[in-house]
């Protein structure tokens, strides 16, 4: 990333100084990160095979990757992944739309905020995951009970961030628009909305981790398929490699989605960097 500083081009001509991070340095950091992961995996392999040396307690990385491979080629893995992915995606999309909508309602009306605020704040603080057994009782062990859990976990950070983002519109910038005769609607679309986008994205990003937790925990309480189901099945059978296979896939999904979101943020709201 480059920072450009320029002083009065009209007088002195454009005097720009580019500070570009040295590629050697950033590649060095990248290598350091990779080395750290590889060293960690090696240590894990060593602990698992030499120190613990009991497949009932700990699986080595090589055994986990072998388990993932076997589950994949026997066709057992795919249904688990698609079910969990569907539960996550449906719940996440519904919660995002609902959360942004409720956030808008709270930000645009004092009465709306007074009515919704105690519920939002109360339910956000409640560990709603504990309600998963109830939802399963209501909606059965299919995907919809899990979707509901995901909605409950994702909804609140999105709502709260949307509301906060819309409310923290800079008074100085609002005054600037007012000086040009902007209407309240113009102020909303040209200022409040764009300045809320970074907050909304941060809420959505927070929702990813919470949504994944919701999927897995809800599946642990009762399900026919899904990565949570795979984990609990494997635990019952003391099949550590397959248990860890489920965990690793979830971890990778979380990391990939969060990283993707960070990239998206850089593209959509580049002004929030530095």
């Amino acid at each position: 990333m480059a920072t450009i500083e320029t002083s009065s081009p009209g007088e002195a001509g454009a005097v720009s100084r580019l500070q570009v991070q040295s590629p050697v340095f950033s590649r060095g950091r990248y290598i350091a990160g990779l080395m750290s992961i590889l060293a960690g995996l090696a240590l894990w392999e060593f602990l698992s095979r030499v120190v613990v040396a009991n497949a009932l307690f700990l699986a080595a990385p090589t055994q986990i990757f072998a388990a993932i491979y076997n589950l994949a080629i026997t066709g057992q893995l795919w249904p688990h992944i698609t079910i969990s992915a569907a539960e996550f995606a449906i719940g996440y999309v519904i919660a995002s739309l609902l959360g942004i909508g409720i956030g808008f309602a709270m930000a645009s009306s004092e009465v709306g905020k007074k009515i919704l605020q105690p519920w939002i704040a109360g339910l956000y603080a409640t560990p709603t995951i504990a309600l998963a057994p109830l939802f399963i009782l209501w909606l059965g062990i299919g995907i919809w009970s899990k979707v509901l859990v995901v909605i409950f976990l994702v909804l609140f950070p999105v709502t709260i961030n949307t509301e906060a983002g819309l409310r923290t519109t800079s008074a100085r910038l609002m005054e600037m628009l007012r000086s040009f005769g902007a209407t309240p609607w113009q102020i909303f679309f040209k200022l409040s909305l764009p300045s809320a986008v970074p907050f909304i994205l941060a809420g959505l990003k927070l929702g990813i981790g919470r949504g994944l937790i919701g999927v897995v925990v809800a599946e642990l309480f009762g399900s026919r398929a899904g990565l949570g189901r795979l984990i609990s099945q494997s635990a019952d059978a003391f099949n550590m490699p397959e248990l860890f296979a489920g965990v690793v896939i979830l971890a990778v999904a979380g990391i990939v989605m969060t990283a993707g979101f960070t990239r998206l943020e850089r593209m959509v709201v580049p002004w929030t960097r530095d």
Binding site: I4, S8, G10, E175, F180, L191, P194, D274
Partner: protein, 257 residues
């Protein structure tokens, strides 16, 4: 008829009287500065003229009409640049016409010309965070000029800049002003800046804010920076400083007891 006239303008915040019966008449095309110690209400006065703040009594007359709300006839240049960080230089400069619903090709060409005038040619697609403070103030100025206002209201636009950049910006402002000769009301706490730029300097006193002295600056135009070392220039600065010295001392003691 005066381009801009303030008649008996008074502003109170609760019990505190900030401005007391200000009467000013400004002729078309004049460059007028308001100087005074902090707390003399000079920024409040400018905000009332802009329509951003209501007056408690008295009126602001633009070409004889009373103005109470912001309008396209007045362009405001803010102390902090107030640029929208997600918009490019060009998109920031066009915001005024855009709010008024004018974004045609003709308008865009005009904005491009304006950006060239303020020395930002080639920077149209830069974002504010990529610009120095001086360049951001150039965008701030171009944005106010973009609505082609009758009168330009400038609120200490160079106060956040370093001393050298400020001097450059003063000469740049003079160059730009000579091109169109808009009526300008310029607020500053820098006496030499006021004398250098203005046809008239209004010296304000504080508690409540009122006009202490109205000084014509009889220095020939165009003015080069070197004029700041001329004896007449120094005499003006001296005279204004003596007018506000006691007030400034009082305000400094109040702020740092």
């Amino acid at each position: 008829m005066a381009k801009l006239a303030l008649t008996g303008l008074t502003k109170r915040f609760g019990d505190l009287e900030v401005l007391h019966e200000i009467n000013i008449a400004i002729e078309r095309g004049a460059f007028i500065s308001l100087v005074g110690p902090s707390g003399c209400g000079k920024t409040t006065l400018l905000r009332i003229v802009a329509g951003l703040e209501p007056a408690s009594a008295g009126a602001v007359l633009l070409d004889g009409r009373t103005v109470r709300a912001p309008g396209g006839d007045r362009g405001f240049v803010f102390q902090s640049d107030n640029l929208l960080p997600w918009r490019t230089v060009f998109d920031n400069a066009i915001i005024g016409p855009e709010i008024a619903g004018r974004t045609g090709a003709e308008e865009k060409n005009r904005i491009r010309d304006l950006l060239r005038l303020v020395g930002l040619e080639g920077f149209e697609n830069y974002f504010p965070r990529q610009l120095s403070g001086g360049m951001r103030q150039r965008v701030n100025l171009a944005r106010a000029l973009a609505i082609d206002p009758d009168i330009l209201l400038m609120d200490e636009p160079f106060s956040a800049l370093d001393a050298q950049t400020r001097e450059i910006m003063q000469t740049e402002l003079m160059r730009i002003w000579e091109e169109g000769r808009k009526t300008v009301l310029f607020v500053t706490h820098q006496i030499d800046e006021a004398v250098f730029l203005s046809d008239r300097v209004l010296v304000l006193a504080r508690r409540p804010g009122r006009i202490r002295e109205d000084i014509d600056i009889a220095l020939s135009r165009p003015r080069a920076l070197a004029v700041k070392r001329a004896s007449e220039f120094v005499a003006y600065v001296d005279r204004i400083w003596r007018l506000i010295e006691d007030d400034v001392r009082a305000s400094v003691i109040e702020e740092h007891p």
